[in-house]
Symmetry: C2
Subunit: 232 residues, 2 copies
């Protein structure tokens, strides 16, 4: 069986978990704590980044880019009947749009919001070398201001299109919703102000592939009530 | 003709310039200053990031990921005789390795070294709202420490393989060398301590596709003498 090394609230890991669940690919999941990566993990991925997917009797795939494109190539060679989610659907131009948005969410949104939020709210607190950490109010303010811009942009996309990159659901939707799910765990999303973003997220959130994410918890920090409510 | 919007020292822009030159794709190049992007550019790429490639009578491609994969798909459909640089050569596993490394250089190396260095040495200084900026010594020290790790890692790859991702030159070599060229412009690379990294870089640097990068200059900050010396 393939083996996925992830951290439960890591948004990039989450995007791969949802992707694999959508494609009905079974994996053994192993957790690593990003603030204290073991030597064994660093030998697997010297970049020190999650997630890593070890293909059964195959290569070690490090990071969302290598994993998603590898799986997409595999699906092209061996299409699976009944699967409704091609990762990069459409023609070359459509795929370029999916990739632009994947880059946006895994890159820009992560850098400006999700990674910083996780650092302030989890990594710095759970790191034993750093006990007593309290989130920095100025950083949180900047994160919240950045988030509003991303919320509007997703709302704008969701208003004009059925899914974020076009008519079909794609890896762009998976990546975006994975990040929003992590941000929502900390009750940081003003959903009511962005009804179009909320409608789009509600559609993804109700998919069976999303359910495992909604069951995740971290010690000492419960999510808000609406976190796993499909009718939030 | 296609139109490439770039900034001369932006490492990601440079990777696309070298890629297009290797593939003998002619483009009209237009510069934007990353610290003062115009509204017209933001309409083109709301992410506010370089580079952007506008395909003649085709889509607008934003960012290295969308551009490189689009061009690779195009090359697969219409192979060009005599070109020695497939961007993602080999089998699926080989391509996953190229993509892992592209992610390393455009993501990790950029975040830990190139982007910060450019900010300290150029963007903060040339930004008129920020005149009198001098680089922060602590930040420069951190950048230099990070750089050594990347230099060793590239040396390790170059020692065991002909090119960074394997037997063939790939987009991973192009991305890595684009970043190193920007860092080298500021004379920040201790080449003599990393002979294997230097040998690999010398091979890329002497390719005709690399020459335009070596002719670039920014006002007030000349590169060191060895910057455009092929026998450095």
């Amino acid at each position: 069986m393939h083996k996925l090394t992830h951290y439960r609230l890591c948004p990039v890991s989450r995007s791969i978990r949802v992707m694999l669940a959508e494609l009905e690919v079974k994996v053994e999941a192993v957790e690593e704590t990003p603030w204290d990566l073991g030597l064994t993990f660093l030998q697997l991925n010297p970049a020190g980044e999650l997630p890593v997917l070890e293909i059964d009797a195959g290569p070690v795939l490090c990071g969302s880019y290598a994993i998603s494109e590898y799986i997409a190539e595999e699906l092209k060679r061996h299409p699976v009947d009944g699967l409704s989610v091609p990762l990069f659907p459409g023609n070359r131009e459509d795929r370029a749009e999916v990739r632009r948005l994947v880059d946006w969410f895994q890159g820009k949104l992560n850098r400006e919001v999700t990674r910083e939020l996780l650092h302030e709210k989890v990594y710095a607190r759970l790191n034993p070398g750093n006990s007593g950490h309290t989130p920095d109010a100025d950083i949180l303010r900047a994160i919240r201001a950045n988030l509003r811009y991303h919320m509007s942009y997703v709302g704008y996309l969701a208003h004009g299109r059925r899914w974020l990159a076009g008519e079909d659901m794609s890896f762009a939707d998976i990546a975006a919703s994975a990040h929003f799910s992590t941000i929502d765990y900390f009750d940081e999303i003003p959903w009511e102000e962005y009804p179009q973003t909320k409608d789009w997220y509600a559609r993804i959130k109700s998919r069976p592939a999303f359910r495992p994410l909604l069951a995740d918890r971290i010690p000492g920090t419960p999510p808000p009530r609406h976190y796993n409510d499909l009718d939030f």
